[in-house]
């Protein structure tokens, strides 16, 4: 395998494994910034060793072993330094002894915690977006910068500040309690949908990383469905994104001009995505979530996808919930 091939493979492995890796480490060291650093140590080691030794059979486990090793080193060193501070010492002791439980814990729980913390309300909105794309999307700082048309340094700063804020605010690495969960979940959905919209609004001639954001958002949404399958609005959001994404080939004309929904060539609609969107919408409805904001938008979008653009059907969908729609939501009814 050439060195380039190995690098591309390492990138692919990182895309598959990094979020789970960071999530598990974050639970262990209880600091998201440190968790990412440790995971990156694993990546650096892989970049050094795998071109020589070949890609290991279980690359995820390999990366985790390196990161854990580094984490233990750090904890032991900290433990020595902090020996005088009893309370901290006790906490570190617990953390060290909990290490080996890590592989038995549900990966899903860790990822869910990571998503919630990345979208924490204490962070400025743009910080949540950058952090989510970085930690959960596996995008590099440069990729995020290109996608959002801002300098790389800006994104780097947003991420650094976000990690610091989480650390200083002492935000716990846990799934939000029942009374907060709806609001916190709403914050997560908002971040994912913003990423999708950023991609959806990309114009012809833009950096290809921009429309790619739609796929990143869809992937995050689908991951969230796996982690929180009982939440109707999660299915609603995914339904909306699948159906909107299904139209991406039909939305722009040959000279880059936008084509409104009712004028689009339906033969260019991606029926695979429409099918997925309708299935997700059905799940949202079965969970009793038909009046959720995303589910409603998805139902509207689905009307067109089902080739029944009857105004009455749209009117019926709109009627029950208009007062609930926050004015801040961007609407994408016409494309």
């Amino acid at each position: 395998m050439s060195s380039t091939d190995t690098h591309r493979t390492i990138e692919a492995v990182w895309r598959i494994e990094s979020a789970k890796l960071i999530a598990a480490l974050a639970r262990m060291v209880r600091d998201v910034g440190l968790a990412e650093e440790l995971a990156q140590d694993g990546l650096v080691a892989a970049l050094k060793q795998w071109p020589e030794s070949g890609v290991p059979e279980k690359p995820g486990a390999w990366l985790m072993a390196v990161a854990k090793h580094r984490a233990l080193d750090l904890l032991r060193r900290d433990k020595l330094i902090e020996r005088k501070h009893e309370e901290l010492g006790r906490e570190l002791q617990t953390a060290v002894s909990q290490f080996d439980l890590s592989l038995d814990e549900d990966v899903g729980d860790d990822l869910l915690r990571l998503i919630f913390i990345s979208c924490h309300p204490v962070l400025p909105f743009e910080g949540r977006v950058a952090l989510t794309l970085r930690l959960l999307g596996g995008l590099t700082t440069q990729e995020i910068a290109r996608a959002f048309l801002v300098p790389e340094a800006t994104i780097a700063q947003r991420i650094v500040r976000a990690k610091r804020t989480l650390s200083e605010a002492g935000v716990p690495f846990e799934v939000p309690k029942a009374e907060e969960r709806e609001q916190r979940l709403s914050a997560v959905l908002e971040v994912i949908y913003l990423i999708f919209n950023e991609g959806y609004s990309a114009t012809a001639g833009d950096d290809w990383m921009r429309p790619e954001l739609c796929k990143d958002a869809l992937r995050l949404g689908r991951i969230l469905v796996g982690l929180a399958p009982s939440q109707p609005e999660v299915h609603g959001l995914v339904a909306l994104m699948e159906i909107q994404a299904s139209r991406s080939r039909a939305r722009v004309g040959p000279s880059g001009e936008p084509i409104l929904l009712l004028d689009q060539n339906r033969a260019l609609w991606d029926r695979l995505l429409i099918g997925r969107g309708l299935a997700a919408l059905k799940r949202a409805e079965e969970l009793g979530g038909q009046k959720g904001w995303y589910a409603l938008q998805a139902a509207l979008a689905a009307c067109h996808a089902r080739r029944e653009p009857r105004r009455r059907r749209i009117g019926v969908a709109l009627r029950p919930c208009t007062p609930c729609w926050p004015k801040s939501r961007r609407r994408r009814l016409w494309s």
Binding site: D5, R8, A12, T203, L218, R219, R249, G256, R331
Partner: protein
Amino acid sequence: MRFMIMIKADKNTEAGVLPGEKLLTDMGKYNEELVNAGVMLAGEGLQPSSKGARVHFSKGKYTVVDGPFAETKELIAGFWIWQVKSKEEAIEWVKRCPNPLDGDFDIEIRQVFEVDDFGPAATPEVREQEARLRRESEKLQKK
């Protein structure tokens, strides 16, 4: 990027031998992993070629031939369609596939054709028109 992943057939799949419990469980978990990773778009198992047919076209005429077909190596037993960022990512996922058949087997990876999301790059004039239309439509939405 989208890839179609094809599990090649072998004498067992062609004989309609159903997978054992362990394989069913492992495959179930694998499919769940793919779904939970957000990369799975579609996937199906295919029945043996004995239940299928081929249509051969030649000089404007067609002939229909019922299965089974002899060249097992050229047949497929199942497929997936995945959304990933590179061929290497597809390969990494395939490596994690549980062994579906006894002995040697092949899984083929083919990239799906996708039309560009956008047509040829827009001229500055067209872009300005686009931006203006977008602003106007946003004004409409705020009303």
